[in-house]
Amino acid sequence: MTRRYDAMFAACREEGRGAFGAFLMIGDPDLGASEAMIEAAIAGGADMLELGIPFSDPVADGPVIQAAACRALGAGTTPSKCLEVIATIRARHPDIPIGILTYANIAVARGVGQFAGELAKAGVDSLLLADIPSLEAAPFAAAIRAAGIAPVLIAAPNTPDQALAAIARLAGGYTYCVARKGVTGAKDDMELDHTRLFERLAALGAPPPVLGFGIGTAAQVRASLDAGAAGVISGSAIVAAAAKSGDHAVAVERVVEDLASATKSKRAPRQAQACAN
């Protein structure tokens, strides 16, 4: 179930760099345009895709992603239409890992198992529900796994050991680590201590840590990878650039190229350095 993620992380390791994940909201500003933007992200060098299915009440998202969800819903985007876009992308790109990020009620409304099954059929590799924390994750993770895709869970530097152990046990594909407190959105503060979080996750045998929430510059990408992340996900910076530009796809490709190229200057992983000492 984590075949594509495993292969992608292995390839990145071999190239001595971190993975770059691009987040885009399906249906923003409409289905056709978002499909072109997803293609542009791949062309720009994204190693993995994190695609949003819009929800009416995105409490984990900042203004940029909220506005994207709003535009997508306004354009009549539904989960069924999102599945069609995903299947189209998957048919053209058999190897790129595709994760879905949405909220619990979208899954619950269809039935979590049914929803995950439909995602699997469309070619999705993982599902992250932003409002399902470790405490509530067990039945969701089981239903998602049973459908043959990986449940991705969020870990934060303030997550206590016991919860982190549950995340390590339940999650698959990668571990979504949050770069800072608060909601999604590119900002210049990465205040939380990640190295310690990455070390704790590694000790628990959790899936590879990928850092997201607030990563929008090449410098932040480099800092995240230097701190020990296996990859980064950038969303608001890409979505904001696209929304501002007359040609969404061109803007997406440019931002993704810029951010993805920053993954190539990764230093040796800190743990390896520690071992060498």
Partner: protein
């Protein structure tokens, strides 16, 4: 979590992972406070000397008859003008206990915002209130009240720009600010421990009312009637009566225009997850939350406290829709006949009680009803004037 987080199938803590430690800290502080006599004493002191508890139980003098007797639990007489004050004072004390410096809260009509601003002023806590931009425009007087007491009112421009969106924004603030900020949630909704904590600080309403009823009637009421938006005043008056199987518990939801534009979450919703809880939810077939509608901003909410969803599922309480029109009629009736102007929210409960009273009169039955008059109508004057006309 140390406590039970669910009410049957409902409840839980469906929040972004980063908020879980904040909820655990709040639960721990709540448990610690519950076993601390000094906390209970300080709260009791505030409730009696600042808020005005106990509130009276009033038997309607002109509505009803010898056989059909209507009692009103007068939360409208509490400082702040509604039951909100009970639990806001308690949570503000908890915030101080946790060493928080700042309060944030959501508000619809502004009653919870006003109560939180009051507590912030009293306790010396910086206070920020999130309020839908639509509600800010409709409730200018309450915005001014909050600002007068030193709170910052932030209009929320996202979504339908009402209560649901204000909750979203407060949650977003909290995910970044929980270290020094307490989210003073206004009702028995949201993630654990809020539904339990708010209930425990509101159940004083039913505790007093049950004793007062026994003193005045030497019997329990046939039914307890309360309006339900998120459901804190209803849980507050129901809880003490839950073990009294012979007492019917009736929640009155916003029936809106009676043609499908409403806020009758239990009546017309289905289970789902919003604002941290698995509960009854007004949503479309894809799980998108739909906007609710009600003449009363306090009932204009597309979800409901999870314990109400549970009480409905088990049949211990029943929930009925009351339309805008019925509520406005009851609003006018109570003003004219008893000299009491209820909040539009509470008027929903009065309307249903009057309906039950009429039926009992027609059937010649004895009936004793206890209605939670959860708030007073001052805040609704401008809207009432517009809806009913100057002549009322």
């Amino acid at each position: 979590m140390l406590m039970q987080t669910r009410f049957g199938d409902f409840g839980g803590a469906f929040v972004p992972e980063i908020l879980l430690p904040a909820l655990e800290q709040l639960e721990a502080a709540f448990l610690d406070a519950q076993s601390d006599p000094a906390f209970a004493a300080e709260l009791e002191h505030l409730l009696t000397t600042y808020a005005g508890r106990p509130t009276p139980l009033t038997r309607c003098r002109n509505l009803g008859s010898e056989k059909v007797r209507l009692y009103l639990k007068r939360e409208d007489l509490l400082h702040g003008g509604a039951h909100k004050t009970n639990q806001v004072l308690a949570q503000a004390l908890l915030a101080k206990r946790m060493g928080k410096l700042r309060l944030i809260a959501e508000t619809g009509a502004g009653q919870h915002g006003v109560a939180t601003a009051m507590a912030g002023a009293l306790m010396g806590l910086e206070t920020r209130i999130y309020m839908g931009a639509e509600d800010v425009a409709r409730q200018q007087l309450n915005v001014f009240r909050m600002e007068l007491m030193g709170a910052e009112v932030v209009p929320v421009e996202s979504g339908g720009r009402t209560l649901k969106d204000a909750v979203n924004e407060a949650l977003r603030d909290w995910t970044a600010s929980f270290e020094d900020t307490h989210y003073l949630l206004g009702t028995v909704a949201g993630p654990h421990p809020f539904p339990t904590l708010v209930r425990d600080f509101q159940k004083v309403i039913g505790k007093e009312a049950r004793e007062q009823m026994l003193a005045m009637e030497s019997r329990l009421p046939d039914a307890v009637v309360a309006c339900v938006g998120g459901g804190s005043n209803a849980i507050g008056i129901f809880t003490e009566f839950v073990p009294d199987a012979e007492v019917a518990l009736i929640g009155c939801e916003a029936g809106g225009d009676g043609k499908g534009r409403d806020g009758a979450t239990i009546g017309h919703g289905k289970p789902g997850i919003l604002h941290g809880a698995h509960t009854m939810l007004m949503q479309d077939e894809d799980g998108q939350v739909v906007d609710s509608h009600s003449v009363s901003a306090g009932l204009d909410y597309p979800a409901v406290g999870p314990e109400h969803a549970h009480l409905a599922a088990t049949g211990r309480a029943t929930y009925v829709p009351v339309t805008d029109r019925e509520a406005l009629d009851a609003f006018r009736t109570l003003a004219r006949r008893e000299g009491i102007i209820p909040a539009f929210e509470s008027a929903h409960a009065v309307a249903h009680a009057l309906k039950l009273a009429d039926q009992a009169e027609r059937e010649g039955k004895e009936l004793v009803l206890l209605v939670n008059l959860s708030g007073r109508g001052d805040k609704d004057m401008a809207q009432a004037q517009a809806l009913l006309g100057g002549g009322a």
